[in-house]
Subunit: 117 residues, 4 copies
């Protein structure tokens, strides 16, 4: 079983045991994901930009950021399940599509927004 | 190689070829993730709540929602990479932690927020 | 003094007294706003869509939602201040622009997304 | 009429003319707000943190950021209307509450998160 399938299965079992599937309409799950992204933002918001990577790589932020990233992933997997999207191939396909959209020659070293995206 | 590792490797190669690693500080990547979550929200916002699942499971929304979910995942994997978090075990551990926080007996059928979360 | 000016002045005084202006770069303030939007999402996420309006209009949600809306507004005013945007006329102008984009005849009763927005 | 009342009145008239009030349940409006915050994030995401203020204060970003801020405000006012919150006094009250939570003596010059918020 792949890692995303393992997460999907564990999350589904968690919800089924609690009879929580009934709350899982897509707009509610998306708002839950927004809530978790918000918690991630609260952890990063006032970090100095040039030290943020270092600070979230060490404790106490490492563990807390990891938990919020995990929460976002769990809701993302749940939302993908609802619309029948297989996330891993979808992500790989999207990276390929971006590679075509941003040819190496024109994009090299230029901030993404400024290549005419 | 697991799903998430494959995505991480493909995304890193994409960025390296374009010399885009230098834009990848955590706060910027998180804002990029917020941008993708916003695009997902724009697709779902006005759908009737009770038909949203059906509507995003069929075209034309299925493909578009799949692409936005993919974009969110790619940035999420990138952010996890920055702080050295291994997302799959982190997500499975978080589900276990939630299972302890929300015992089946007390949670069954009660909306998550109302169990005293 | 208008509403928004009063909020801007009170927020600026609050920050100046604490010497917090130095943390107020736009990306940090935007992440703080995202954090508050996330808290709002956490309050609404599992409410039944057809009862949400009623539930947030009554206690205990009324006060909590009001506080989160207030937090979002304070950061929004702060961000507008940073880029020198006068929010009230900007909002009125944007409504007029939307009115032109969505002519009454073609838009009437059709969900916004489906008018070809 | 105050700023925020003028925006509320103009937005309500815009919706009523298009018979769009029926789409305005709180969760949908919040997702619309998330969509606009996402557009704001897309404008700021790759800006160098230390030049972001300068860049969004000048064209072409000044106008675009102003429009996105305006969109966020319009949905925020709409959501406040739905739960019967008067945004301006709520924001001023929240700033006062924050002032008590973060006494000047202990907060001065220390990033908000690190005062034990």
């Amino acid at each position: 079983m792949s890692d995303l399938e393992a997460i999907r299965a564990a999350a589904r079992q968690f919800r089924e045991e609690r009879d929580w599937e009934k709350f899982q309409d897509p707009k509610s799950v998306l708002l839950a994901l927004v809530g978790e992204v918000g918690e991630l933002a609260e952890l990063l918001q006032w970090l100095p930009a040039d030290r943020a990577k270092e600070l979230i790589s060490a404790e106490p932020l490492h563990t807390r950021v990891g938990e919020e990233l995990a929460d976002v992933l769990v809701y993302l997997v749940g939302l993908a399940e609802q619309c029948g999207v297989d996330l891993a191939p979808a992500a790989l396909a999207k990276i390929e599509k971006s590679a075509i959209k941003h040819p190496v020659q024109q994009s090299r070293g230029v901030a993404p927004d400024r290549t005419g995206q």
